[in-house]
Amino acid sequence: MKTVYCRPKCMKEAHFHYCPGCGHGVITRLIAEVVDEMELRDKTICVAPAGCGMLLYNYFDIDTIESAHGRGAAVATGIKRVRPENLVFSYQGDGDLAAIGTAEGFHAANRGELISVIFVNNGVYGMTGGQMAPTTMLEQVTTTSPAGRDSVLQGHPVKICEVYATLDGTSYLERVAVNKPAAIIKTKKAIAKAFRHQQQKTGFSLVEILSPCPTNWKMSPLDSCRWVDDVMTKVFPLGLIKETKKC
């Protein structure tokens, strides 16, 4: 008999706490698969965020540290500078990276820190109950934009990849999604590519992943997956945003 699907070696035998239909579970697993396939478990250090990804250390059987909300890129910087031989990645939500941690992410990118950021864009603050995030769509209803996000009062969705693309320190930026099988395969490839960029010391790498949050979007998992395509990708176009060197 041939095994076609099993738990990645670098994952612990724990049950995800993620809600049904949430993209975090898929992304967590994809990272583990990539770490396995690139045989990186022994050298990888993960920085977990404050946000729905904060319990990553319960799932990854790799060295992991929790960071304060938004400070992942700074913590990862400290680790990577001390241990340049390790693979260091920070896992961050959109509130984490695009609001409270804007400065830390932006400047790590600008310095060209040799770290990778896995940036989960689900358009809301998931962990705290679905408040508006910097990436929330215009007119999207959240608990803190009950009338829908209004650009006059609440600004426009922040496009992290496009902003980071202007920084010379960044070498690989790609926006992907986890709302359907083909997209998931692309996401896995993008994560692997980010890690290769780090290994080849080309610069700062980031994968932005559009990820459904059915609980806080108040939609069924299926409708959430459709909404990623129908609404989110119109503002956050998928694809390679920047690659300075093929890896």
Partner: protein, 353 residues
């Protein structure tokens, strides 16, 4: 050498290989010294961070990766670091944080002050924790205490604060660097280096389970009790025959010493207790002194912060006199001696009555 540079140099000699900082007066010479010096050390890391928040979180990462890590700042920047210091304490990660205090609150000014005593000695950030706080009174002592700070941080796996002020940071004094005794090896079983040939490790402070969080709090508390038991440091000066004990730390203690020498010439028996650790605070020597004399004179370059600890130590005994100069004002020894003398005479008179 300036106090700031001396602290930087001592840190490098103590094995600090990672420094992160953001410019703020009056501690810039320290950041500048590290920019040149730490990169000469194998594996030495220097980053001028985008903010003090980033700097302390880089310290946290570097410490988790096993380096002796340090950051420095002054008042406003130290406020920004408090979140990170709380995480360092919660995660039980060693680090050294230097605060060259200036006048506050708010932007305040850049003149020497002792405005952050309570912030430093009460943890400073959120949650139930403490940091060891060392208060040097000369450039030489500042350099010497840097070695102590790194060793204490590693021994207890806890952040240690060196609390100086703008004067200590910027004044120039001769300093000799003791080639620190060969560094002890500290167990590093918490360090993240990649799970090679060992189980994976995690460093975290999130404990949803209240029982677990409570146990973590008590564990930290027991560690703080050990520090209180083992790490109290202070200096006394002319205390044996004194009728009045001055209590002052850091540069204020230096000014007080000058004042006391003058008072002695006038025949006034005044001595000094100088806390070197502000936390843990030297309670016992104050309590013992209270058996010998009744008058304590607290002098601070603030409106009165350490005085709270003196009151706690005395438990209502004795009489506490106070003189404070906040806002970056530094009284001269002559000025201070006149004020202490007045208090001495007043209390002699009231005793006669």
């Amino acid at each position: 050498m300036s106090g700031n540079s001396a602290v930087g140099e001592a840190a490098v000699l103590a094995g600090c290989t990672a420094y992160f900082g953001y410019p703020i007066t009056p501690q810039n010479e320290l950041t500048e010294h590290m920019a040149k010096r730490i990169v000469e050390v194998p594996g030495g890391v220097f980053i001028q961070s985008e903010s003090e928040i980033a700097a302390i979180n880089m310290v946290l990462g570097a410490s988790a990766a096993g380096a002796r890590a340090m950051t420095s700042s002054s008042g406003p920047g130290i406020s920004l670091k408090q979140e990170g210091i709380s995480y360092l304490a919660a995660d039980e990660l060693p680090a050294v944080i230097v605060n060259m205090m200036r006048g506050g609150p708010g932007m305040g000014n850049i003149s020497p002050a002792q405005s952050d005593y309570l912030q430093a000695t009460r943890g400073g950030g959120h949650g139930d924790y403490r940091t060891i706080v060392l208060a040097p009174a000369s450039v030489q002592e500042a350099a010497d205490l840097v070695y102590v700070a790194f060793d204490l941080a590693d021994t207890y796996r806890n952040p240690v604060v060196i609390l100086g002020d703008g004067m200590l940071g910027q004044m120039m004094e001769p300093v000799t660097f003791t080639t620190a005794a060969p560094r002890k090896e500290y167990p590093k079983e918490y360090v993240l280096s990649g799970a090679s040939g060992r189980p994976s490790r995690m460093i975290r402070s999130l404990l949803f389970d209240t029982k677990e969080e409570e146990e973590h709090n008590w564990k930290l508390f027991r560690k703080y009790q050990l520090m209180e038991h083992n790490e109290v440091r202070y200096e006394t000066f002319l205390l044996d025959d004194a009728d009045m004990a001055v209590l002052a730390y850091g540069i204020a203690a230096r000014i007080a010493k000058g004042a006391i020498k003058r008072l002695r010439q006038e025949g006034l028996k005044v001595g000094l207790i100088r806390p070197i650790t502000l936390w843990p605070f030297p309670m016992k020597i104050i309590q013992e002194t209270a058996k010998q004399l009744g008058d304590f004179f607290v002098f601070e370059m603030s409106t009165g912060q350490m005085i709270e600890d003196v009151k706690l130590a005395l438990e209502g005994k004795g009489h506490i006199h106070f003189y404070g100069r906040p806002g970056g004002v530094i009284p001269t020894p002559v000025e201070l001696s006149r004020i202490i003398a007045r208090h001495c005479y007043q209390s002699q008179r009231s005793k006669k009555r």
